[in-house]
Amino acid sequence: MRIAVAVACLALASCASMEPPKPWEKGNLARPDMQFDYDRLDTRTQQHIYTSKEAATGGYGVGGGGCGCN
């Protein structure tokens, strides 16, 4: 049991040695389809619905009020 705990601790600790990709390894992250706002129309629609539901405008440069009508 004690060894199992030790193994678990080591396994968890090994996560700490994981590293984010290096600057020259970011080819996949730089792809357009990896962006949060890949599809501008989709982003706009999402924000429109979001602002309607939340009854507040977000700071995303997309117009919208609480009524969901604009």
């Binding site: 193994v7 080591l10 396994a11 600790a13 700490a16 290096k22 600057p23 020259w24 970011k26």
Partner: protein
């Protein structure tokens, strides 16, 4: 029974311990005044290019990738520098770090390079330089020492880098 399970776990434990205890030592970044780490890499055309064979020349080592926006902007300028100072003991070496050679070739078809282009798919060279951002460029003098580091290609640095190149080729 219990012991057998523990024994089964031992190799895993050893592996995990090794992963934890032997992290790869981070290479320290190449800065001004350091000797430029050497490399020998396959070129787009002809024989592999070795940095130490270029000793005596002023070399602008530029790390670029097809997915990097500022790299695209830097190509016309590097072509210009190569054209202006190429005959005076200066050379640009563009180190491509794309994982797929095809991506680099497509980029080069759109952005022709009249300087030496080499390919490092494995990323050993940017690792040796501990490149901090893309693009990163290192101006190396005739003795093989780094005299200037440009991180991210900024338009307002073009004139300064050119002055440095001109001064270095004037010296040798």
């Amino acid at each position: 029974m219990h012991n057998a399970n523990v024994m089964k776990l031992l190799p895993t434990a050893a592996f995990v311990a090794a992963a934890v205890l032997l992290p790869v030592a981070p290479a320290s970044a190449t800065e001004v005044g350091d000797a430029a780490p050497m490399f020998t890499l396959p070129a787009a055309r002809g024989d592999p290019v070795a940095l130490d064979k270029l000793r005596g020349k002023v070399v602008y080592v530029d790390f670029w990738a097809s997915w990097c926006g500022p790299c695209r902007r830097s190509f016309p300028w590097m072509n210009e520098m190569q054209q202006k100072y190429g005959g005076k003991g200066f050379t640009v070496v563009g180190v491509n770090v794309d994982k797929k050679r095809g991506d680099a070739d497509r980029f080069l078809a759109q952005n022709p390079a009249n300087f030496t282009v080499v390919f490092d798919e494995a990323g050993a060279t940017p690792s040796a330089y501990a490149v901090k951002g893309m693009p990163s460029s290192y101006l190396v003098d005739g003795k093989g020492n780094v005299v200037y580091v440009e991180r991210g290609f900024l338009d307002e640095h073009k004139a300064e880098i050119e002055q440095r190149i001109a001064a270095l080729v004037g010296k040798s």
